[in-house]
Every structure is written in C-alpha cells, then in structure tokens.
Symmetry: C2
Subunit: 282 residues, 2 copies
C-alpha cells in the first residue's frame, strides 16, 4: 500500500500502523478528522483545517495537541510519503482515557472522481437528513460518519453519485460528502451555516473566489425545489475541489454542464491553489 501513516510520532507504512482498540475513537467514534489535499507535497489550507479541528475538539470537550506539533506531523508524513499530489487525513481522538490524545496522519495517493464526472457532471439525488436540532455533531467533522455513508449508499442504490441531504423543512443542507452551491439567475447561492452542517474549507474558498471575481453570492436557505430548477449546481470538497452536478432527482440543471460560472470558479480555485502553494502541475 502506497503512502505513509504517522501515528503519535511514529512513521510507518499504513498497513503496519496500529492504534489501541481501547481508543475512544474506536470505542465510540469519539474523535474528529480532517481531509486535505496536498499539491506538490504541500497541504492546501492546512491552518484552516487545523482551526476547524481544534474548534471541534473544544466543542466535543477534549484537548488538541499543540498546533506546531500537528503542523510538523503533517509535514513529516508528507515528506516521508514522497507523494506530490496526495490526500492527507488527520484523525484526532481523546485517546484511551482522555489524558493523552491520539493523532494519526495518513498520507495516501489521491483518489478522485473520474474525469467524466468533472466534464459531464454528477448525478445527485436528495436524501432526508438524519440529524436535526442544535447538536454539535452537525457542525464538527466527527468520526460519527455513518449517517453520511448511509446517505451516500442510498444515493448509489438509486444509481446516483451524490446524496443531497434535505432537512424536515425541505431545505438543502449539504451533500453527504461535500458542500453544495447553486447558480440561480446569475447569483451564487449556498445554504447558510445556521442550517447546521460542517463549514467546508473549500466552501469558504469558493465564496472568497466569487467575491474576487465580482460574482453576487448569497448564503441563504435553498429549498430543494429551487435547487432542482437551478441554472448550475456544484459540490465542493478539499479532495474533489469543485465538482459539477448534472441533475438533482432526475431534473437536469438548466445550463450546459459544467456551466459558465462553475467553470470560472474551477479556474479561480486552481489559481488560488497556485497562488498559495506555488505553481501546480495538471
């Protein structure tokens, strides 16, 4: 298995790495993770991911290691893996007794949606959101990820690539694995954080790019029926970046896929990465 695992300071091939079955992350899903993309051996927006991780740990009530320690862990793992383009997963748990956290960094070859998914868009279907109410679990990226996996599986059973979570009010919350945007009448629309979902790092980057490009953008409630009649739609995540959506619940987006605004944002995202990390191949 290509890649490397950094576990509490030890670098190992991923298949040789070990954690305790007594770890609260394994016992109860008590823990958090972050998935980042590395370009040219450097993780994009590492600080933002660490901000979110530390905020999540505070919310769940366990200590995070020093920032510098986590930065070094990611850098050491990336250097040891020797991969330019890679996925980097950080997992943080309170450990066995909450007195000594477990930190795992997994650097592995990047696995992306196939190129045709970017060229022709993916098929999305709506799925009811399983979590409601004001629970921190909706705002943090916890190891309690089964609801997302099950939503994604329900979508796959319907022949779709992506599940769009819809809450009991009929409002779009997020994709099971990614945040969601629509383009409606020339305006970029994405659900507000008050709908209760993980604030995506790529979502924030796309809002920044939209502002730079002089695009009207709005965080507001997005009823499912409005999404189905949108001009364009796309999903965002650190690994997949910006992924166009061709249809939602069988209704095709009005603009050809990828639409003009989606395309402009995809290019803007690539420029942002190059600006922050230096020129990137591909």
């Amino acid at each position: 298995m290509a890649g490397i695992a950094w576990v509490n300071g030890k670098l190992l091939p991923p298949e040789e790495a070990a954690i305790s079955p007594l770890d609260r992350g394994f016992m109860y899903g008590e823990g958090l993770f972050e998935t980042m993309r590395a370009y040219g051996g450097r993780a994009f927006r590492l600080q933002e991911h660490l901000d979110r991780l530390c905020a999540g740990a505070a919310e769940l009530g366990f200590a995070s290691p020093e920032r510098e320690h986590m930065v070094r862990a990611v850098e050491e793992a990336l250097a040891a893996a020797g991969l330019d383009d890679a996925s980097v997963r950080l997992t943080l748990t309170p450990g066995i007794t909450s007195s000594s956290p477990t930190l795992v960094v997994l650097v592995r070859p990047l696995s992306l949606p196939p190129p045709e998914r970017y060229a022709s868009g993916c098929v999305a279907v709506s799925v009811p959101a399983a979590q409601v109410g004001d629970t921190p679990l909706r705002r943090v990226k916890s190891l309690n990820f089964l609801d997302k996996l099950l939503a994604q599986r329900a979508a796959a059973e319907k022949g779709a690539h992506e599940a769009i979570l819809v809450d009991p009010d009929g409002c779009v919350v997020e994709g099971a694995m990614r945040n969601i945007f629509a383009v409606i009448g020339g305006e970029l629309v994405t659900p507000p954080l008050s709908r209760g979902f993980l604030p995506g790092i790529t979502r924030a980057a796309v809002l920044e790019i939209a502002e730079k490009q002089g695009l009207r953008a709005c965080e507001r409630d997005l009823p499912l029926c409005e999404l189905c009649a949108a001009d364009e739609c796309f999903l965002t995540s650190s690994l997949a970046e910006i992924l166009p959506v061709a249809s939602v619940d069988g209704r095709a987006m009005r603009a050809p896929v990828p639409g003009p605004i989606t395309t402009a944002l995809m290019e803007g995202y690539r420029r942002l990465v190059a600006q922050e990390l230096g020129p990137v191949e591909g």
Copy 2:
C-alpha cells in the same frame, strides 16, 4: 490493566492489543458493538446479543463472522480473563476494505453505578434527541455513539446521572445509555420500538419477567410530562441491570425509591439470571 482483549483470534492484555487506524470502525465509526455482563464467567443472553449484532451488520451492509466463531471468541476471552463477574464488549467492523471483518472482544472487570444509586435511585434529566427520521442508526448499536455521550455529558453538567432522550413530539425515547420504564397506575409502561431506539436485551428480559409476574405491561408512547408524574421509573441495561430513577427534571417519582414494582422486577431479574446461568453470588 486487568482483563483481556481478543482481537481477530489473538488473546492479549488489553493495553497491548492493536487494530489498524485504516479500520473503517476507526475511520468512520462504521461498526457495531454489544455490551454484555458475565456472571460466574458466563455471558448472560449471549445469543440474543449476537442476534442483535448480526441484524445490525445486515442493516449496515457488512458481513458478520459465523455465530460459532463469535461464541468461541467470547468464551475464550472470558476463560483467559479469569474474571467471574465481568463486562464483555464485542466490537464488529467491516475491517479495512470490507472484505475481512474486525472482531474485538474486551473482557474487563465490571464497573457499576455505586450502590447508593440502586438504593436511592438516580437523578435523570431530559435532553432533546439528536437523531430523527427513519434511520437505521437509531435501531442499531453502532460505533457512532457520540450523540449518546454528549447527551450523557449534558445531563452530568446539570448534576444528573442520566439523560432521558425526548423526541420532537415530546415523547420519551430512551435513556442515553439505557432503556427506560415507568410504572403508572400499577401498569408498567415503556416506549414502543416504533419511537426509534435500540431494542434492549435487558428491556426484553424485563417485559418477560413482568409477564411471568402477572404484571400489566404496555409498550406505548410515553410523553415526558407523564413520565415526570409516574409512580416509579427505572432504567435497564445489560451491565447495570435495573437501575431505579429518583427524579426526572427535578420532579420526584410518587412512590418511595426503589418502588415496589421496581423491586419485584429487580428480584425477578436476579432469578432469571440464576435460572439461565446457574446460581450466582451476591
């Protein structure tokens, strides 16, 4: 650390046991667990726990090992631990790639609520249930256990011992860690499975005992206001067995604690254990 860990066929002291950080149980909380109590070195209602585990694996879409294999694992771990009265935790995950499941059996010294909790009852407070809708996650005992931990912590912050989860209809669902019963006008009442919660093995045993004792018992919706005005209330779990509740949201139960019906069921439970496993000390 006393006890033993059985991990995919290997017996080890718990602190030396290891699983892969690539295990889907650790990555996403994709997995299930069962907690049983052993009396005189034998697990009570092991078959029922394995039934529930296998049903959960089918629901989550991954394979369970052969029943005989799991029974042997529990027996080997119990024999190696050399503990009479013990807690036995089985954890089952799809493993790293879903092709080879991970099975962990942890046998550890029993850790029970303090005796005064049985004698004077525990203090319970209501907490909103975080999961709604028809999701398998409410019916299976998955590693996605954070919502329960957070509910229990919210209760502890209010000085209570137990969180009672209440759904948006105002109906009692379950305790965060245990199922719940009330005694109202001489009748035993417990929420119906249709409210969406884990069907407890001890809950089922208590309903059996009630029938044997000729007690009227009913699985029906239990509004929180009705629970707060009940004569008696108790919680059930495999480890704690039957745990009397003294008050809910500051309102004391009408009968002295433990109430007469609670006491009769506690005695009935002890007899049931002795009947199935042979005489038990204490």
